[in-house]
């Protein structure tokens, strides 16, 4: 089937739409304001601008922050919990942590009120033995009480349900008979993994999101269908894969990092197409700098994340390290005379001082404005007429310059140096800490502000080059079109390798494969190929942290042959040695969890269709004075999108496009590659 493939990323300020015409490989992009509180308005408006007849659309893939926002703003549905006797407070007690190490302040309210957490007689032990069968009358009574109290969704959270789901399954069946909607989440269905708080939290948050997210997705789908859309509607998950809209409505907690994940996926693909398998991405927004690492084309996944204090979601997610150093991060001098950046941020509202919306403390963006790196007369984003350079300068004088005895320009340079150093620290952290040498990576800035700091990242970290994608502002929307379909599964096994029941392991693996394949089959997308991967979480007995052990598993006609004990032991030794550099003599090997992933590889489109012409005029549109180091430099300004392939621009220079400013510092150069990306590298290369 040939038609239009559409990726839509709804961000805080803009909704980005990326449209690929499958027939000729051409692409167009649209940027419209995000509508609030219902994001579907901007979503449909954005698509409508590029495609008149919705029946021409074959696929719509959506990266959404609807779930994240509902969690952060506590806008989910009133949710009830039915749980094991004695455990109603697990959600509120967390893992006995605290919001901040020092000061001991702050309290915590879970998303489910204590009144809506009811206990029922039932108990399963850690070995799966049922000590107390579930009292189904009590379960029904509790469900009715929750409905009367006004709950729209319910989570069933039973102790040790990962080891034996029978009690929980019986309760869930009884509840589904009387619950008036599909918003029933069971812990053994959502996450059959040991650790009750993490499982309960993930399940309760799933229930909390179900009415909101499924309602939003249904509204979108209905609007698309009524406009004649007859294709497939899919949602990006936190793991960077896509899922069908029905799965997303059932498992909305898997969309918690949907938007950022799509951006990382796109970056990986763009970098790989341009010849870089190893890339570190940096998304600089208003309040934060988000860093992610892709090695040999593979994104890193982390097992869980906290959306906010006490709100833990345990699901494989693209690992994104966030530090509080965005464009809106505030620069301040502490009482000991040390210059700090963030974590306090002016965000996008009121935003930097230069925006003139009432903030009077200097931000990273203000430093860029004062130094001429951002054009005050043509602010990106189109919200403002011009920026107030003098106000930004004054704020820098008062809050940084005077306390440190620096001139305005020195203070602005100092703000950038400290901000760059913090950003560089985040890049070092994601690479070096995991044993990767950052010098072997390319840096890819995306989002609005990152490309202003690319040169500094190269200088600070020793990275050889940066790639600025042709459309950095719509990277996430592009990622939606590229992402594969992927489902992750987990099952706690908890056994010594020597006591492993190979048939039981094989049965779990088969179940995961069957479920994953069924989801792929149900999709109307064509896949280039399907991939299945298995991993065991393993450790020595007595050790707490596990290492992921990849298994090579034989499959014939969709049937899994479970690996033998010797294979598992050998795979563990390899993985353990790679992680810790040594094996433990006489150590007893233990398996904690099985993790499986089923992926349907979607066809990729050729990025060169986005490339500019190969010939054309290269002339600056203007020049501006920009401050670098300790002097002003006459700096040429170029219209970035019109630069032909192969152009090399020596720094200092600035390349502008509607939503991004690319800064090429002195001693660096920018080269337009055959895809229209700008490669920034030290002068004198090639």
């Amino acid at each position: 089937m040939s038609g239009r493939m559409i990726g839509v990323d709804v961000g805080g300020t803009f909704t980005d739409v990326f449209v690929l015409n499958e027939a000729d490989g051409s692409a167009t992009v649209a940027k419209v304001p995000t509508t609030r509180p219902d994001q579907s308005g901007g979503f449909l408006d954005g698509i409508g601008r590029e495609v008149e007849d919705l029946s021409e659309i074959s696929v719509v893939v959506h990266g959404t922050t609807a779930g994240t926002n509902a969690l952060l703003e506590r806008k989910g549905a009133r949710t009830g919990v039915i749980c094991t006797e004695g455990l109603r407070d697990v959600l509120e007690m967390r893992r006995r942590d605290r919001p901040r190490t020092w000061g001991l302040r702050g309290d915590f309210d879970p998303v489910v009120d204590r009144r809506d957490r009811l206990e029922v007689p039932e108990r399963t032990l850690a070995d799966g033995t049922i000590r107390t069968p579930v009292d189904l009358d009590a379960v029904r009574k509790a469900a009715k009480q929750l409905l009367e109290q006004g709950c729209e969704a319910v989570a069933i959270l039973f102790a040790n349900a990962y080891a034996n789901p029978d009690n929980e399954a019986a309760a869930v069946a009884a509840i589904r008979e009387i619950w008036p909607n599909p918003h029933v989440s069971a812990s053994s269905e959502i996450l059959p993994e040991i650790r009750e708080f993490e499982r309960f939290s993930t399940t309760a948050l799933n229930a909390y999101l179900q009415p909101e997210v499924s309602g939003y997705l249904t509204r979108l789908e209905n609007a698309l269908r009524s406009g004649g859309f007859d294709g497939e509607f899919m949602i990006v998950q936190s793991n960077g894969g896509v899922m069908g809209v029905n799965t997303a409505s059932r498992l909305p907690v898997r969309t918690a990092l949907s938007g950022p994940a799509a951006g990382v996926i796109a970056s990986g693909y763009i970098a790989q197409s341009a010849g870089f398998d190893n890339v570190i991405t940096g998304d600089m927004g208003g309040t934060s700098f988000d860093v992610s690492l892709i090695s040999q084309g593979q994104t890193m996944l982390s097992a869980q994340t906290s959306i906010d204090f006490g709100m833990v979601v345990r699901n494989p997610m693209i690992e994104i390290t966030t530090i509080g150093a965005g464009g809106g991060s505030i620069a301040w001098v502490d009482k000991g005379g040390l210059l700090n950046i963030g974590p306090e941020s002016a965000g996008s509202n009121p935003g930097p001082v230069a925006y003139g919306f009432g903030n009077d403390r200097p931000t990273v963006t203000d430093a860029n404005v004062v130094l001429g790196r951002i054009d005050p007369d043509n602010p990106i984003g189109g919200k403002l007429e011009r920026l107030d350079v003098e106000a930004a300068g004054k704020a820098i004088d008062i809050h940084v310059g005077e306390p440190l005895g620096l001139t305005r320009l020195e203070a602005a340079e100092a703000i950038l140096r400290v901000a760059n150093s913090r950003m560089a620290g985040a890049i070092r952290l994601v690479s070096i800490e995991r044993g990767f040498d950052p010098k072997r990576f390319a840096f890819m800035p995306f989002g609005g502000g990152g490309a202003l700091h690319a040169g500094a990242m190269l200088a600070e970290v020793g990275i050889a080059r940066a790639i600025v994608p042709r459309y950095p502002g719509v990277t996430s929307a592009l990622g939606c079109v590229i992402a594969d379909m992927r489902q992750d599964f987990v099952q706690t096994i908890n056994t010594l390798v020597t006591q492993l029941n190979q048939a039981a392991l094989g049965a779990f693996m088969q179940e995961h494969v069957d479920q994953g394949m069924a989801l792929l089959d149900a999709s109307r997308t064509t896949f280039e190929r399907r991939e299945v991967s298995f991993e065991l979480d393993m450790a020595y007995v007595g050790q707490t942290h596990t290492v992921p052990v990849s298994l090579t598993v034989k499959m014939t006609d969709g049937k899994v042959t479970a690996p033998g004990k010797a294979d598992i032991e050998q795979a563990f030794d390899t993985a353990y040695h790679a992680t810790y550099g040594r094996l433990l003599k006489n150590g007893v090997r233990r398996i904690l969890n099985l993790r499986s992933a089923v992926t349907g590889k979607r066809p990729k489109f050729d990025l060169s269709s986005l490339a500019p012409a190969t010939e054309g005029k290269v002339a600056p549109s203007s020049t501006r004075k920009v401050h670098f180091g300790n002097a002003w430099h006459d700096t040429a300004i170029f219209d970035r999108l019109s630069l032909p392939v192969g152009t090399v621009i020596k720094g200092p220079a600035i390349l502008t496009q509607p939503d991004t400013t690319v800064l090429i510092e002195p001693d660096f150069q920018g080269r337009v590659d055959s895809f229209g990306n700008t490669i920034i590298e030290p002068q004198g290369e090639d």
């Binding site: 006995r96 605290r98 001991l104 915590f108 100092a414 942290h545």
Partner: protein, 564 residues
């Protein structure tokens, strides 16, 4: 010494903090025992080559170590000076709490870092090992009267000479623990963290001149001092006295006094503990390094923006009477140091509440509640379940206290119930909040918890508890009420019993099907109860955090007029 510009200083401060953070992370990942791996009862940092003062410390380690590690380094500096044989590649190891502070479970590794043949600084790693011998598995022996009944004692000795590990030391260590594999895993993790620290320092000094980094380290100390002085200057001058008590020392049922006179004058402060009880027979003594370190922890909670740097302590004088339980002499037992330092933090908070109530929170639950349940399985294999349990935090000027938090001296999380049930033959009948445990106040304290744990093993088990706050409640501040006290009971054939020493007991025999029950303290309240909004009280009652009777008693009946 060269001058360093403020910007390079900011950059270098961030880089070095990252080195210490990375050392923390390395050990957390590699450690075998959950007290390090999950509870993060460990710490790493950079220390002065001449004084041992803390220069940089990781952000994720245990707060108490921020102050105490420099004593470990000082001990090594003295040892090396006496022996005259400090060399590149040496690593010292010891657990002697009278020299290095805290307790014998904390194994300290100290490694001199050389640059071009010259000693530049020390790197150190400390981690809480699962078992280091002694009378009680897990080393919380409430009946100890000498360190020798708590654990084996290792003074500072060279684990490595010029990069060559001395296997003899390792053999001795492993023969003296019930859990040699865990100990070996943790030791490997600590060695790995130190290796990493050396590599990172090498890289840093390749990039920046050693003089520049030295200048930065000196400047950071000066700035820490300046920061502390400016904070003190903002507080009113005055002298405030407070006292609080420990239930007993585990041997004799007599309360022990911790007395503090806090004096602030201009930009200086004195913490005078004169009048505190003398050294006691049981293990709630602490050594002087622990006392000084605890003063630092308390101060950092009052001023959270202070850096982990010894410069902070320059304007502060800590006076500790020579013969008190806060300056215990070898071989006095110190295994229960956590209880004493928690009480020290409580008295510091209570004293500060007089000077500036908005700066501090009311007392938290104030006990670590170290509970071990141990026995033998039917196949003869021994098992030890050892954990700390949480309680309520104090209310503050901005909010109610946190329900079920971790201790102020720690950032430790509690192991999941399911992990404990999978590893040991026990079942939690209850893992819940404890209603009516919060101190009343404009902002009430956080709730404590109830843990009821049943033994499933047919051979039964023995329980050991080391707790506190069974007789003296966590205090409220600014007229806030006190939190509920710690209550521990255990099941016997003829019903539930309480220990004679209330919060401490060893060798409780439990049969299969019998349980222990721990009801932990709530936090103290902040501000007068009369100022709490009726809506907040009604909500507490509706949620069952507070019973209607308790609400009437604490706040009067006005809340009954409000719909939650």
């Amino acid at each position: 010494m060269i001058e360093i510009d403020p910007i390079t200083l900011s950059v270098l401060a961030g880089r070095m903090e990252q080195i210490a953070d990375e050392m923390d992370a390395t050990l957390f990942r590699a450690a075998f025992n959950p007290i390090i791996a999950e509870a993060h009862d460990a710490s790493h940092g950079l220390y002065s080559a001449t004084t041992g003062d803390t220069l940089i410390q990781g952000k994720s380690g245990l707060p108490i170590f921020v102050g105490v590690m420099s004593f470990a380094v000082k001990a090594v500096i003295e040892k090396a000076a006496a022996d005259g044989d400090l060399e590149d590649g040496d690593i010292y190891i010891f657990n002697d709490a009278h020299i290095g502070g805290t307790h014998l479970s904390d194994m300290r590794l100290v490694r001199p870092y050389f640059r071009n043949g010259t000693l530049f600084c020390y790197l150190a790693s400390v981690g809480h090992w699962h078992d280091v011998g002694g009378a009680v598995p897990g080393n919380y022996n409430p009946a100890a009267t000498e360190v020798f009944q708590e654990a084996f004692v290792l003074p500072p000795v060279k684990l490595a000479r010029k990069g060559e590990i001395n296997q003899d030391i390792i053999d001795i260590l492993l023969r003296n623990t019930r859990l040699p594999q865990s100990a070996m895993g943790d030791l490997n993790g600590q060695l790995g963290a130190l290796d990493l620290g050396v590599r990172r320092m090498d890289e840093l000094l390749d990039e920046y001149e050693a003089d520049t980094v030295s200048a930065a380290l000196a400047a950071l100390s000066d700035r820490a001092e300046a920061l502390m002085r400016s904070e003190l200057q903002e507080l009113p001058d005055g002298r405030w006295e407070t006292e609080d008590f420990l239930d007993n020392d585990g041997i004799t049922d007599e309360p022990l006094r911790i007395k503090l006179a806090l004096e602030i004058k201009d930009d200086q402060m004195v913490l005078d503990f004169t009048g505190s009880s003398p050294q006691c027979a049981g293990p709630v003594n602490i050594a002087l390094p622990t006392t000084v370190a605890t003063a630092y922890v308390a101060i950092k909670h009052v001023f959270p923006a202070l850096p982990a740097n010894a410069g902070v302590m320059r304007p502060i004088d800590v006076i500790v009477p020579e013969d008190s339980l806060l300056s215990a002499k070898f071989p006095a037992p110190t295994g229960g140091y956590t209880e004493t330092i928690l009480r020290m933090i409580d008295v510091v908070f209570s004293a500060f509440a007089n000077a500036a109530p908005g700066r501090v929170v009311a007392n938290a639950y104030g006990t670590i509640n170290a509970l071990s349940i141990a026995g033998k399985r039917s196949n003869g294999q021994p098992w030890v379940m050892f954990s700390f349990y949480g309680g309520g935090h104090g209310g503050s000027v901005e909010s109610d206290g946190l329900n079920h938090g971790n201790a102020p001296i720690s950032t430790a999380t509690i192991p999941p119930m399911e992990i404990l049930e999978a590893a040991y033959p026990v079942m939690f009948r209850q893992w819940a909040l404890r209603p009516d445990s919060a101190g009343a106040g404009t902002h009430r304290g956080g709730l404590g918890a109830i843990y009821e744990i049943e033994v499933l093993e047919e051979n039964g088990a023995q329980a050991f508890l080391f707790g506190e706050r069974g007789k003296f409640a966590p205090k409220g501040i600014a007229q806030g009420g006190d939190g509920a006290m710690n209550v521990f009971t255990y099941e016997q054939d003829d019903g539930w019993k309480a220990p004679p020493l209330v919060s401490k007991m060893r060798g409780i025999e439990l049969k299969q099907g019998q349980a222990v029950r721990l009801e932990t303290p709530g936090g103290g309240g902040y501000g007068a109860a009369g100022h709490r909004s009726p809506e907040a009280i009604a909500r507490d009652v509706a949620r069952g955090h507070t019973s209607a009777e308790q609400a009437d008693q604490d706040y009067g009946p006005a809340w009954r007029e409000v719909t939650p």
